[in-house]
């Protein structure tokens, strides 16, 4: 048996990857200018958030975030946040942590801007739903790091590519849980809206979205968690922040730095998770903000209705 050729097989070579790369290269060349603009926009947005935050004294910012935790949930989250953030400052991870936070915030906002309308469309049209589902599966099950490659090609090393990869990875739950939330709304309640002559947009705004809110917020929570994990991986393509620290620690085998960065990620994750989970589980109109407002503007009438 000659040994020179590859083993004989009836399956012809199918270089999907090569095809994709060819397509990608063409894509990149054709829309190069566009991607430059997008890249600049993204970098601008992230710096626009990170810079002012970094201009503040770390302790002041930590206290502000702790207050936010208290307002949206309870004093425990406030105290926990303060302790955690002070820990990050102490580990000298404050700057990368804030950069990562900025990246996560922008990625989440973009993912929600794309994902929620897509989820609404999918909930209304079975056709859209059938198309969206496999695409979301593909985006979610593809190993996260693979997304770094096309992104590198389009934006080269830098925070813009990191953001796009993060958005791709974090988008699916926004779409899925928005669709699920809307589909879960009691059919008779939607019928009631129709029966009283509400239009599709009114039904969406006044009935479906408010009732889907807890589920949508669970999606938002997941988007943030996925964005955080991907933002760290994106350190490989120059995403900056804690990802950079982790990558640097790995390449220099610096265990101490690696754990400092890792623990900072954990602290950020817990803070973001608790904060957003509390928004989702809250009954509409019963938040602490409203409670505070009522406490300060209490009149006999509102006191009676609140009791």
């Amino acid at each position: 048996m000659p040994e020179s050729a590859a083993p004989v097989t009836i399956v012809p070579p199918i270089p999907i990857g090569t095809w994709l790369e060819t397509g990608f290269t063409w894509f990149k060349q054709t829309f190069d200018a566009l991607f430059d603009v997008i890249g600049d926009l993204i970098t601008g947005a992230i710096n626009g958030i990170a810079d002012p935050l970094l201009a503040l004294d770390p302790l002041v910012l930590a206290i502000i975030l702790a207050l936010l935790g208290w307002l949206l949930r309870n004093w425990k989250l406030g105290v926990g946040t303060l302790v955690g953030l002070v820990l990050i400052i102490g580990m000298d991870m404050w700057e990368p942590a804030v950069e990562t936070l900025a990246l996560v915030v922008v990625a989440t906002v973009v993912a929600l801007i794309l994902g929620i309308p897509l989820g609404i469309l999918a909930a209304r049209s079975p056709v859209v739903s059938r198309i969206v589902k496999p695409v979301m599966d593909f985006m979610q099950t593809m190993p996260g790091m693979v997304w770094l490659l096309p992104v590198l090609k389009l934006f080269s090393i830098g925070v813009a590519g990191a953001l796009v990869a993060t958005v791709i990875f974090a988008l699916p739950p926004a779409v899925r849980l928005t669709e699920l939330g809307i589909r879960q709304v009691d059919g008779e309640v939607v019928e009631a809206g129709q029966a009283f002559g509400a239009g599709p947009r009114q039904i969406l705004k006044d009935i479906q979205l408010p009732l889907a809110l807890p589920t949508v917020m669970a999606g938002v929570n997941q988007v943030i968690m996925l964005a955080l994990s991907m933002a760290v991986i994106a350190g490989l393509v120059g995403g900056g922040g804690l990802g950079n620290e982790v990558v640097g620690a790995i390449s220099t085998l610096n265990l101490a730095r690696g754990f400092d960065a890792g623990i900072s990620v954990v602290i950020l994750a817990i803070f973001l998770d608790r904060l957003t989970a509390s928004i989702g589980s809250r009954r509409p109109g019963h938040g602490r903000l409203r409670e505070l407002r009522e406490r300060f503007t209490r009149t006999p009438a509102t006191a009676a209705s609140a009791s």
């Binding site: 008779e188 019928e191 009631a192 809206g193 129709q194 029966a195 009283f196 002559g197 009732l211 209705s305």
Partner: protein
Amino acid sequence: MPAIEAHHLYKVFGRKGREGVKRLEAGAGTDELKAAGLTPAVIDASFTVEEGEIFVVMGLSGSGKSTLIRMINGLHAPTSGHVELYGENITAATGKDLRRLRRQRISMVFQHFALFPHRSVIDNAAYGLETQGVGKEERRARAHEALELCGLSGWDEHLPSELSGGMQQRVGLARALAADTDILLMDEAFSALDPLIRRDMQDQLIELQQKLGKTILFITHDLNEAMRIGDRIAMMRNGRIVQVGTAEEILTDPANDYVAQFVADVDRTRVLTAASVMEKPAAVLGAEQGPRAAHKLMREHQIPAMFVTGRDRTLKGYVTEDEVGRHLEQKDLTGLLHPVPGLASVSPDTSLADLFGPAAETPAIAVVDDAGRLIGVVPRITLLSALAAHAETDVADAPVTADDETKEAARA
């Protein structure tokens, strides 16, 4: 102009619904369509609901009544046929026109209330006005009024989940009433409530209808409820309307065995009225006639007493054979004419149940209209035989049921 006109409505679920309609029109049976993968929910339903009427569609679950009611306000599109509301074709209406028709003409109360859980009670009640574009102040005022009308004052700012089932349905009713549409659709509106509250709500509905004069299309699977509140009742079975009539018509003259079987358990004494069992008086004496004429008439008809009326047929009183016989020499009825006791003179829509008391006191009950004119009598014996008819149908039912089953079996 009738409030609702349904013209040959069909709803066939499945891919080729229209073909299913054609086959039904050609005489195909339900089973035949089911074998072809089609589900006929409503078959050739036509009826008219007059303004101010309570029209009840009565049928067991799966008879297609919920689908039918949803075609009236266009929540479901009929496979064939159309619905007119005050002459306007709602089936053909789309988008803006459809929404305008719904806002203006027709509101709905749902079986499971379908309240908006995130809105306060008053904002729920104001919803119809909100879609109509009424300003906030006014719609809250009107919603508050509707809530009061439904006995829900003081709950405005609560969430629906804080209310009991009966109260939640009052909110549902208030929401429909506040919208102030001409027509009210009620889809098994009281079925989810427990029996005592249900009766209470039925009474309230009748009262509200009399006060507000709404046209109501009411769906139920409870025949007693249908008989209690319906001016007319449509009996539905397997998607077809098998009989339309008043409660009495359906009771006394059921269109087929199915209806007969259904009505067998109904308490007739509550449904049948004096008007449905009363007889033409065998003999009536004019007030100007004398004792001799009276005596002769009573002898002829072999009755111990008779009613006396004036020229305009108003009831003047009664005379007895005994007394008249002793005063035959008198010129007129002076001293012989007894006033009819209040109990023994009833209006035509008094239920049979309320006739038993008077019947124990007097051999015949006079039925008089609003102007006091004598329009019929209910002799004691007639009252008893009306009840006996009930027992007869019970007996007659047994072979009928068997028949029905053999027919079904033969078809299958």
